[in-house]
Symmetry: C2
Subunit: 426 residues, 2 copies
């Protein structure tokens, strides 16, 4: 007779409900593939949303870790704190395997959780937390496990990528693009975490820890979102041969790691520039592999359930599965560097009242004086809003210098707006 | 104390030598990641090419399966028959795990080998057999394991892709492109298996069996290579908005599977059309995942060793690993369809002596009469070789009709050459 694995699904929103139906439908084939029989022993949510045998309904989610019969708990509550945190900590402490889609939780408490999982010899899997439809976590942990990865980057958030694509191809302004994303279910009602780059940051911290074999570093990460990007930027970028993308990138150089999330101008012909709509991509560079890229849907119930269920099967198949590939206590030690001393070419945009058009020359002069050299210039008179825009692409300059200049310009208050977007060569 | 795994590497060409050095260098980190200690117990080749402790040198490769100490045999001899076949069958029968990069062997004997492995509860892993640097086998077996995949396609051969890219971007003719590939180590001295599409066919059979959960079907596959493509075809394709690629594609519809390998015209803006040089890509379409694409280096010692070593670690980590995801005896039953009744738009090219230019109208007329309609025409007078070329893009037509027409035209012998390349919409 086959071994049996009893699972509890806690949280029955879009994802949880889809997962429940999916696992019931696929029970037979999944059992063939894992050689273990999967039984959904309990499900739980605040409200009972669909018909469920009474004996499967769990009243209090915090009971799940204590029920002896349960082998594995699928946490789909969400959020780094509160119920999700309580549940996952308690589950691992009670020697239950855990599968979660919760990037915020793993990003914040992954180190602690992994330690408990390792000590108690249970699994903690989180493929769905990072770019759902792209099996990147599993690939780093298995298919690419012998590689020394030095760089990981890509587009990790479908919401912002959809917005930027709509601003580009449908010529929508930021607000309309956001509304469109919301109406299609691609953006949450409160899209702050997506727009501010926090969602990408969570994913990047997890990828960075896995790729570089380090602990998760929650603090040392540069984060900017896309709130400041408007449709003119997208258009000007196009004219200059670039696309604007919200990029997540982590890189290791010797003993240093840099983690950064910001909107970046990418050359038109860069692979990552061509990822449009809700798609995500992840690029890994390392030895001996060279460069591997994966492209797929980053979110939505389908992609997420593919990831969650693959994690469940992985646990059913057994074997040694450290949450972060090597024991937390044996991780490499790195220093983290901020980006101040990195060199960037940059896109600068100054909006001036038409009567102040003559300031253009003085802007360029000030930049030159500070050794920020210019490689491309666009001047644009916009009769509609009576503004004159000066768009510059600088040559490489230290980030802190660029930021200092921008601060100075902003302080002057004679410019209607001053923008600064980095160019990244990926 | 950690468990220890003793391996034997049989075959020390480019790949085997690189693997030996790699595993020795990485022993510590690989042991951390797998929680098992890896020991290269024996190596073997026809000639001893580098310094090796005497007690590690195995005189007869066929002894390896009989040595009790050995847990895992890495087969890097190559070829579907002969020594490689003997070794792998014997290894599995003697309850040794096997890791191989041998696509010809797996494609031909994979079903039989998997049965033995299943019966003897040992692992048979072959990530390196398919698109080396892309962890696609592991992804189908693990990260995407719960998906029902309905289509798999891509560019699975770096040699032919390099040749086609060189014909396109460097304007080389076929022979020069082949020579360039050989001088750079991208093509073998005897490149027949690559050029004729046999290498792609091996990989496609393996992918198809894994994706559709069927046994490997060795016979029912349509195979054409690129020998017949010349630089004019590449140029004309460009003018018409296409790239010529050697495509491998397998698809499941209801109870039918189609497996095909042929040079195809792909629309310029197709992702697969943009894979250039020695790169490979694999696209998987299925439920619930949607579409996932992976891009990476398809061959060479580095990519191959990444794949082989990840297989070794996977075995070291333990757990249930069926060679083809479900037991061979429980595979889905499919019928295999040939492509005769599939509909294709097609690229046709007729070369005529200049004095026979007037035949152009009669060609188009004959096609129309057989209900093969034309959507685009290019006429080209080539004063250099005193030929007139008529290039046509047809509307959709059954494959057998197109082929019958081409046969008829060829039989006439008034055309200097008659070409037929399918257009594939991927």
């Amino acid at each position: 007779m086959k071994k049996k694995l009893n699972i509890a699904i806690i949280g029955l929103g879009n994802i949880g409900s889809y997962l429940y139906t999916f696992l019931k439908q696929k029970r037979k084939i999944l059992s063939k593939k894992s050689q273990v029989d999967l039984n959904i022993a309990f499900i739980c949510d605040k409200k009972r949303k669909f018909k469920v045998p009474k004996n499967k309904w769990l009243k209090n989610y915090l009971d799940a870790p204590k029920i002896r019969k349960i082998d594995l708990i699928v946490e789909l509550i969400g959020g780094a704190e509160g119920p999700a945190k309580k549940l996952v900590f308690s589950a691992l402490k009670n020697k239950k395997h855990v599968v979660t889609a919760n990037k915020a939780l793993i990003s914040k408490y992954g180190n602690q959780l992994a330690k408990i999982a390792e000590k108690n010899k249970v699994n903690l899997e989180y493929e769905a937390a990072v770019c759902g439809g792209i099996p990147v976590i599993r690939s780093i942990k298995d298919g690419l496990i012998t590689n020394e990865i030095n760089k990981v980057y890509g587009i990790f958030n479908g919401t912002t990528n959809f917005i930027l694509s709509s601003m580009d191809f449908d010529k929508l302004n930021f607000e309309s693009a956001l509304k469109k994303a919301q109406s299609l279910g691609y953006a949450e009602r409160n899209p702050k975490a997506d727009l501010a780059g926090l969602d990408v940051a969570d994913k990047l911290r997890i990828l960075s820890a896995l790729c570089f074999n380090s602990v998760i570093d929650y603090k040392n990460i540069h984060i900017e979102g896309i709130n400041n990007i408007d449709q003119f930027d997208v258009q000007y970028a196009n004219q200059l041969g670039y696309k604007i993308k919200l990029l997540g990138l982590a890189e290791r150089n010797n003993k240093f790691i840099v983690q950064k999330v910001f909107p970046a101008l990418l050359k038109n012909n860069s692979n990552t520039a061509k990822i449009n709509g809700v798609l995500n991509n992840v690029v890994l560079e390392g030895k001996p592999i060279g460069r591997v890229e994966m492209i797929g849907e980053g979110a939505g119930p389908k992609a997420t359930v593919s990831a969650i269920s693959s994690d469940i099967i992985s646990i059913m198949k057994g074997g040694i599965k450290l949450p972060f590939n090597t024991p937390i206590n044996e991780k490499n030690k790195y220093k983290f560097k901020d980006i101040s001393n990195e060199n960037y070419e940059a896109y600068l945009r100054f909006d001036l009242n038409l009567k102040n058009m003559n300031l253009a020359q003085s802007i360029i002069g000030k930049l030159k004086k500070n050794k920020i050299l210019i490689q491309k210039i666009i001047k644009k008179k916009n009769t509609f809003n009576r503004l004159f825009s000066l768009i510059l692409i600088t040559k490489q300059s230290k980030d802190f210098k660029l930021k200092r200049m921008i601060r100075n310009f902003k302080n002057k208050k004679i410019y209607k707006s001053v923008k600064f977007i980095r160019i990244e060569k990926v």
